[in-house]
Amino acid sequence: MTDVGIEMTDDVKVPPLEGGHLTEHEVHPTATGISNEKLSMWVFLGSECLLFGGLISTYLLYKNRPGAIEVRDTVSGAHVGNAQRISDLFDIGFTSVSSFILLASSLTMVFAVLAAAKHQQDKLRLWLGTTAALGAVFVGGQVYEFTEFLNKGAGYTSNVSTSAFYTLTGFHGVHVSIGILILLATLALTFRERSQVTPERVEIVGLYWHFVDVVWILIFTVIYLIK
């Protein structure tokens, strides 16, 4: 019973990412050599592709279906003209900036994964926090954008193009928000006495985060760049 391979002791606190007490398990043999957790995330992301595929198709089908939107001034509420579809209201500059911020968060996520791999606890916390913050800025931007559109008169049910727009970007926003929660939970777990935040787990969180970012590149192109 002395060869169970667990080096961790209860009375000696070893910083989790430096102690390496989990290395035994990180290389746990599976038929493919990839851990079950990481493989399950890849498989799940495969499924997510079809979810966004369906939503993007819906938007593409409906984006040019006109339906009169009475555009109001966001401050005075005065009627300032008519729009036919949601794309008439886009502020491409604003969305480009918030998209850039989301993409930047992919970079900070990479730093977080690197820090975890090097067992640099403080840096890991820093970059996890930064990534979550950048994600939050993006979601905040989306909330602002939605509010603007709504104040201008384009509600969820104004016409099918607005419905499709809000549904697609809304689903993406929910995915980013869930990602932020996961990042914050991971960050919180690094403070636990015996942390379960292994480098691989950070990497798995990263997989999800990068996926959400990559999908946004697609959505941004489809919604804002293609006329």
Binding site: I6, S35, P66, V160
Partner: protein, 676 residues
Amino acid sequence: MALVNARTPLELPSGAETTVRRPLGVFQRPVRPTGWRSWVFTVDHKKVGIMYGAGSLLFFLVGGIEALLIRTQLARPGLKVLSADLFNQVFTMHGVTMIFLVVMPLQAAFANYLIPLQIGTRDVAFPRLNALSFWIWLFGSIFFNTSWFLGGGADGGWFNYAPNNGVIFSPGHGIDFYAVGLQIIGVASLISAVNLIVTVINMRAPGMTWFKLPVFTWMALVTQFLLLFALPVIAVALFLLTFDRLYGSNFFNASLGGDPMLWEHLFWIFGHPEVYIMIMPSFGIVSEIIPVFSRKPIFGYPFMVFSGIAIGFMGWGVWAHHMFASGIGPMSVMAFSLSTMFIAVPTGVKILNWLATMWGGRLRFSTAMLFAIGLVTMFTIGGLSGVTHAFAPADTQQTDTYYIVAHFHYVLFGGALLAIFGGFYFWWPKMFGYRLGEKVGKWNFWLMLIGFNLTFGPMHILGLQGMSRRIFTYSPDQGFDFWNMVATIGAFTIAVSVLVFFANIITSFRKHRRTQEVVSGDPWDARGLEWMIPSPAPEHNYDEIPVVTELDEFWHRKYGHDEEGHLVRIASAEEVSQKGDATNVHLPSPSYWPIVLAAGLPFIGYGVIYNLAWAVLGGLLLLAGVFGWVMEPSTDPEADHGLHGGDDLEPTAEAAFEEAAAGEGDPQAELEEAPR
């Protein structure tokens, strides 16, 4: 090793000062090995599989009663057993129930029970997620059926085409329950798909390469991939429908810019793979049964595997053959006609392989074998009538007639369900330790086969005569009387055969209890790994993870060839079987959280439909479940698991230590159950 040394060997986990720290937020674990708690909080793939089976048999009765109501209403022209409105609800609920609450979960039952046994591992990759899938499915199914008591069920057919699925044409809450209920059930299937895919890819026993994988596991794997990619598509469709009905969007409302065809496309992009989701595991079951009772290896194993994969791929390219009558244009019709004809090829390959497996074999017509042959014959009829739909002109004529109803019942009842019953008779001894009666079983089979053909055979004729589906009655001058009566008689014959099946379970169980007869691990002289462990399968499955060198490994351990190439027995089944008495096996601990987490979803469903206050309650349950789940290591550091599978109820000190140590390394402890 300070942890281990800190305890003296006799200090059991309940001892006062233990160095094993209970993680934050974890209650005392459910640890009882017997009683209802051992089922409700289980994470054992075998118990989860059995619960899936029991649950879906219950819904099989519900769906069956709905079928009998339909057939009673249609027995004679002009009957008023059901009103037109109620008839719409009954056939819709019958369809959805039989597909999502019976056939799919029955396949999930077999997949859950058999995959870990067939690939030689101790559990699935994520045992708690497995339990979660089951509870979400069960609660979602109950949620869906509560619509009967809350104003009536969905009433637009199982595919609920737009615009009939809109609030204007279906103002009740039935379709809301359909949209939200299927969404919940879909989550269960998605989790289960991810779990089983990872299990098969990652947890195969040493030596079990892809082409030594049993055919059932292969087919179940293809099914899980189909689920993985098809479910998000129906999820999108159901979300859009929910938003249309509850939040006032107009995705499917043509008068306000929406497009009803979008629903049809999204539905069938899911719906056609769904057809293969239902039939593929049955192909797998039959591929396990026929070789055993022919005493021959499966003919053309690689062809079996590749045709299954081919069906999996091609299943994505045929969806619009459900929509030939909807005006999708001549080019689309031609393309989908062609692809539909092509997909018959790999299916035909399978049929021929089964026949070739039986050819020249030493056939034993056990009940399981009869059911398997039932699939081969009945599915062939259904497949042939299916190919007739590939011809667009004929299909346009047949669309929405009873010919279609006949066709899909031949593939789904004559195919999927007959194989599932065969699977029950075949694996029942492995699951419960006693056989189902063969004599009663044959009554069960013949009654079912005759009843089935009486019910659905005449529907071909009715359909070609022009009788529409989904019409609640007909008039005497239409000439539909005779065959409708025959079909109704057939339906009640099926009902009798199902009762015979349940009676068989009860009488066989009583006999088993009376005689205390214990069935051996290998009652059929079978081929796969699952037969080299005792019946019923011990909780830890394998004492030692087997090392695989052959397809049909167990058979090759029992039989070899002499110099002239004749089959000779080289060992008895007992000699090469495992005893199931291992101790010190790490198994994932039972958990409260899957059922707590799952219980939140139906409340969220009611909240979406009625009042968001319910959703808040559901959300809290969900959060509690997630929090408890995250904070709980999957293997209890305090569990005395050493007694698993052993007669010795004293946990050995060694086992206790091993458990404690395992708990320490818990992040990956889900892997712990499958050391290799």
